[in-house]
Symmetry: C2
DNA sequence: CTTCCAAGAAATTTCAAAATTTTTGCGATT
DNA sequence: AATCGCAAAAATTTTGAAATTTCTTGGAAG
């Protein structure tokens, strides 16, 4: 996720052993566990590779994430209680504070881990009342893959980017707290659509204009 | 998946070593790979367990499968060509033949692997034109988990059961070939709804009556 | 009666080397 | 010029045992 290895790069336990100060078998063990999360590719009898990265795959991951998050949000809005609202507000407050600081300090690189963790916490809290551990765990996996795919993509995470996503996160929060399912799903789509390629069939739920109004 | 181990049962490499005629480390390696598919639970420093099984979890797995299959079918119907139609017909023909034989011969247990493979092939072919490897791989994982959850549930896989699912598979096929997205999604819901618990929030797409008509 | 702690037992993880499998390089054949 | 086969090299997998961590048990303290 830190682009230490290029997309599709071979990961050989015998070589990495030195870098990480442990035996080749331990590396293998760890790589198998990373494969479970989808960060590493594994093929029997032919070892490990860092996940490949193509425009098609990035679109694929983004679209899948949209579907999971929209469904998780729907179920949470239907089933979440006051406790969920409180936790969602809290995680949003934290995220917003960090994003504001990033814009002020211009220290984008320093905060990257802090921001990434807070962003995950917000999106995870959003779907946390869905009462589906399968959906929740799959989302964690795809979120990590999503972030991994974006690392390789040298986009300008400039001030404008953060100004935009502050608004987007706010829209998601507002719709969720207002128990507006369609509006929340539209806000999720708007938040993530920059990662979709055009000339592809889009996700089911993407209506935006009239719903949020 | 053959209920060799009970739900939640501890899986200790040192013990299984004897059963499978290999070293404990090889067992560990294999269990890590089964954990990737979701058939085995793994927790750092505390080993492996066969997946737990509760009514809530079975509902969860079934609902998630419905969502994936409905979305996969939608994308396939939109994007699949003649080749997809041909492969879908072929896999359905094979599945139907096996199901008919099962009803005739009453040999339910003999055909179980054959049937299970053919059933997976049909459902996988249905979503095979979705152009999303992430969706396809997640579906494979959840299908296997679904089957695993059902093994522990001693239900009557009697003649009536197979008579019913022959009709259900036919409905899915017909709607797919007719490029009827909503109808196909409804047929998928009807096929799998027996695995959902009541008193739970249901999946998004479950309308059935008027759509298929 | 519960809680805490330590020692022993059991389980998990790591290691280094051997065995197996795949990949590579090169010459012969079509 | 391309394909095939074979030996060497490289990589992956398996092994058995050592090191580490967790779990259990029984007794002392609160």
């Amino acid at each position: 996720m830190t682009a230490t290895f290029g997309p599709g790069e071979k990961l050989k336990p015998a070589e990495l052993q030195g870098e990480y100060g442990c035996s080749a078998n331990t590396i293998r063990d760890v790589l198998l566990r990373l494969a479970k999360v989808g960060l590493v590719e594994f093929e029997m009898q032919r070892g490990f590779r860092a996940k490949h990265s193509t425009p098609e795959h990035r679109h694929d991951v983004a679209q899948f994430r949209i579907m999971l998050e929209q469904e998780g949000a729907r179920l949470s809005i239907l089933q979440g209680g006051l406790d969920w609202e409180a936790r969602l507000s809290a995680s949003h407050h934290k995220l917003r504070h960090i994003e504001t600081q990033i814009i002020r300090d211009q220290q984008h690189d320093t905060y990257v881990t802090l921001w990434s963790d807070a962003e995950y916490e917000f999106h995870d809290t959003l779907i946390s009342a869905c009462k589906s551990s399968v959906l929740r765990e799959t989302f964690e996996s795809i979120y990590v893959q999503f972030r991994q795919q974006m690392v390789n993509l040298e986009r300008d995470f400039g001030t404008d980017y953060f100004k935009a996503i502050i608004v987007e996160h706010q829209s998601i929060l507002d719709a969720a707290l207002a128990r507006n399912i369609a509006g929340c799903q539209a806000a999720i789509y708007d938040h993530l659509k920059r990662n979709l390629s055009s000339n592809h069939v889009g996700p089911t739920l993407q209506r935006t204009a009239e719903i949020t109004a």
